[in-house]
């Protein structure tokens, strides 16, 4: 089973993502509520994929993405963003993000993005 790390400062988003990923057969192996915690959790858990919010306190998702990718150049990260944050999305993709999903999102879009991005097209 593929292990996913969910990173979002909003408890609601973490709970929502955990639930919909679990329903699709994926395992959420950890959560973090800011970029700094995400980097620590990534180092500790070595998940197959990270769902990363962009706007967060302490360290935002872009900075966390860069740190994670500098630790592990094969890290697979999907950014979660509000519609219209094109500049941040472009920067994230340039920094190695595999894909992005736009909030408010539909469950099937999230699952599709995760399936596509998982290393080697892995399924749950």
């Amino acid at each position: 089973m593929s292990g996913i790390l969910v990173v979002d400062d909003a408890l609601f988003m973490r709970v929502t993502l955990r639930k919909l990923l679990a329903e699709a057969g994926f395992e959420v192996v950890g959560e973090a509520d800011n970029g700094r915690a995400a980097v620590e959790r990534y180092r500790e858990l070595q998940p197959d994929l990270v769902m990363m919010d962009i706007t967060m306190p302490e360290m935002d998702g872009l900075a966390a993405l860069r740190q994670i990718r500098s630790m592990d150049s094969h890290a697979t990260v999907i950014m979660c963003t509000a519609l219209g944050q094109e500049r941040s999305v472009k920067e994230a993709l340039k920094s190695g993000a595999a894909d992005y999903i736009v909030k408010p999102f539909k469950a099937e879009k999230v699952v599709e993005a995760v399936r596509k991005a998982l290393p080697g097209g892995r399924r749950p």
Partner: protein, 156 residues
């Protein structure tokens, strides 16, 4: 404050609310307030920086906030707990993020800060510019959008 700064928030508010609560809100009459006060029991405050700066406050009654949170979570009516607070704060985040994108397309590149949920009415949110206010009427109750933004030298 330019009246055009509130339009992206109203547009984004209607689109995001329609997506998350599955019914399209109607916007009400524009009003001006010389200062931003929370007029509702629960308010989400979000800062804006960049080509425009200031803040946006989304106000709603506790009953509406609880209903919105339940609709967002696809759960039966819930108590206004930590998860419900987080859902309502995230609603403000989604609307503001979408609005920031619309502002960027109009030449005002800006960023938003993470949301803060304020409980209680009549709390002043410090501002240097008058606030424009537009109510959105939804099936779950009224949501008031207060926008107090001013142009900075970073505007293109």
């Amino acid at each position: 404050m330019k009246a055009e700064f509130i339009n992206p928030f109203v547009t984004a508010g209607i689109e995001v609310l329609e997506s998350v609560i599955k019914s399209r809100p109607e916007s009400g009459q524009l009003a001006v307030r010389s200062a931003t006060f929370t007029t509702q029991q629960s308010s989400i405050v979000i800062g804006v920086t960049g080509a425009v700066r200031g803040h946006v406050v989304y106000g709603m009654s506790l009953v509406t906030a609880t209903k919105v949170a339940a609709a967002m979570s696809s759960t039966p009516p819930m108590t206004f707990d930590e998860l419900a607070s987080s859902a309502v704060a995230e609603l403000g985040n989604m609307i503001s993020g979408n609005a920031a994108g619309l502002l960027a397309r109009a030449g005002y590149q800006c960023e938003i800060t993470p949301p803060t949920l304020v409980r209680g009415a009549n709390i002043e949110v410090s501002t240097t510019t008058p606030a424009l206010v537009v109510p959105l009427y939804t099936d779950l109750g009224k949501i008031e959008i207060n926008v107090a933004l001013e142009e900075t030298s970073a505007a293109s």
